[in-house]
């Protein structure tokens, strides 16, 4: 199978053959930046289309079907439409913070995006504290949302931003604790090592016993809340707050929040795939050699993206299954149910690891 790392190696050699090392590094950095930018936008466009089609299917509608075959170009058309909308300059806002907020939101999701394990040997940033860095960076996004709501000087945006802040910081705890549970099981925080550990087909959700399954359920609930989706979309409850924290943003300024929201959905599903479903590791069933061979033949990148899309589908499914929560119900769910369950689950995982009860 063609390995991307071989291509990268070849490119590196070729660049070094005709230019100075610092120039080669600069060119490679620019190349990585362009690649990130392209994959980020293409994935966001795909996700917007995917969500609209899935929502349509849940409501027995057709969804977008006019622009391009099966409406696949709908989100491209929408992107152009959003680019040619006027950027309205308001006279009551805090201009600096208002302009800063989309930068923070996009920066957070772009950094998380570049941490993901795209395939065997295809990972851009690979710290040894990978998953910890990812969690740390993802919380910059909350700052952007709070700034957006506060600087807009509008009552709806203020309420939306505060709800969002309270929700995102609360659910970050659950997310962090379920990640700790898996870190304790894996014994490493490096994203590439985690994938390597699962690459024999024993994904953590299979080998981790009951605590891994509980951690997965908590992670997916917390992830839905972190991305302000599904039953936890009260920061942008359209029936109460027009559009929540980004009410005052127009044109492409609004587009950034929209883009980041969909990418965050992908990132959360990607991290869930990494922690519980083996990242890029193919599915193996012990003893079924022919089956395993076929599974190995599928490229690792397709495995990763496929798992992330399946998990995103589940998160989108939540939205059409559960009614929206109230703020007090939301905080009760986190602080009185998920957090204690998570603490107990961590102890359970420690017991499982210490007594070697895992598979």
């Amino acid at each position: 199978m063609l390995e991307l790392s071989h291509g990268a190696e070849w490119l590196n050699q070729w660049l070094l053959s005709w230019c100075a090392p610092w120039a080669a590094v600069t060119i490679e950095c620019v190349l990585i930046g362009v690649l990130l930018l392209l994959s980020y936008s293409v994935l966001a466009l795909f996700y917007i289309y995917f969500e609209r089609k899935v929502c349509a299917a849940f409501q027995c509608r057709l969804g977008p079907n006019r622009v391009g075959p099966w409406g696949v170009l709908q989100s491209v058309a929408d992107m152009f439409k959003i680019l040619i909308k006027e950027l309205i300059s308001l006279n009551h806002i805090d201009k600096f913070l208002f302009a800063l907020a989309p930068y923070l939101v996009i920066l957070a999701s772009m950094l998380c995006f570049s941490m993901l394990p795209w395939g065997s040997g295809i990972q851009i940033i690979d710290f040894n504290i990978g998953i910890f860095f990812l969690l740390a960076v993802s919380s910059i996004g909350v700052l952007g949302i709070l700034l957006a709501g506060w600087s807009s000087n509008n009552k709806f945006t203020l309420i939306g931003a505060l709800r969002s802040g309270a929700q995102m910081v609360s659910y970050e705890l659950s997310m962090g604790l379920s990640v700790i549970t898996m870190v304790a099981f894996a014994g490493t925080m490096s994203i590439s090592e985690m994938c390597q550990l699962q690459s024999d087909g024993m994904w953590f959700i299979f080998s981790g016993h009951i605590p891994a399954i509980i951690a997965f359920v908590i992670f997916i609930i917390a992830g839905t809340a972190e991305t302000n989706r599904g039953p936890f979309d009260l920061p942008e409850a359209e029936s109460e707050l027009t559009a929540g924290y980004h009410t005052e943003y127009s044109g492409i300024h609004f587009g950034f929040f929209y883009l980041a929201e969909y990418l965050n959905l992908f990132i959360v599903s990607g991290v869930a795939a990494l922690l519980f479903f083996g990242g890029w590791a193919p599915l193996h069933i012990p003893g079924w050699d022919a089956f395993n061979g076929v599974m190995d033949w599928i490229p690792s990148t397709i495995w990763f993206i496929g798992k992330a899309i399946v998990l995103s589908f589940i998160i989108i499914w939540f939205k059409w299954t559960f009614p929206r929560l109230r703020i007090d119900q939301l905080l009760t769910l986190e602080w009185k149910y998920l957090l204690p369950i998570n603490l107990v689950n961590l102890v359970l995982m420690v017991l499982v690891v210490c007594y070697g009860l895992h598979f």
Binding site: L37, E86, H92, K155
Partner: protein, 124 residues
């Protein structure tokens, strides 16, 4: 710490990622500034609320409950950060590490119990 691709330092790549994010926003804004229309109307600068002019201050005081949850979050988040290094080295640290972290963990749980009994987790 060297990345898998090109053997570039990871910290450099983190800066590249951050700059890419900034570049995405900046480029799109420049593009939108070039091709989007402009028209002036004093009504456009108003707050998007209910159609009538806003009454009172919008950057106003808000519910104290949000502060309370923020403080609780700070407490728990800082404590969970301390759990990470132990979680990585759990097998190597063995029983000693387990006992030490159990004390720490006990204090964390006590904090939650205290907040719960004080009614800090109720939304009033």
């Amino acid at each position: 710490m060297v990345s898998l691709i090109f053997g570039i330092q990871n910290s450099t790549l983190a800066v590249v990622g951050a700059l890419t994010g900034v570049a995405l926003v900046a480029l799109a804004l420049v593009l939108a500034g070039l091709i989007s229309p402009r028209s002036f109307n004093p009504q456009k600068g108003e707050a998007y609320e209910c159609g009538i002019p806003t009454r009172g201050e919008s950057m106003a005081q808000f519910h104290v409950g949000y502060y309370l949850y923020a403080i609780l979050f700070l407490m728990f988040d800082v404590e969970t950060v301390f759990l990470y290094p132990w979680a990585v080295n759990m097998k190597a640290l063995g029983t000693d590490g387990l006992l030490c972290i159990a004390v720490f963990f006990g204090i964390l749980v006590l904090g939650l119990v205290y907040a719960w009994r004080k009614g800090a987790l109720e939304w009033k």
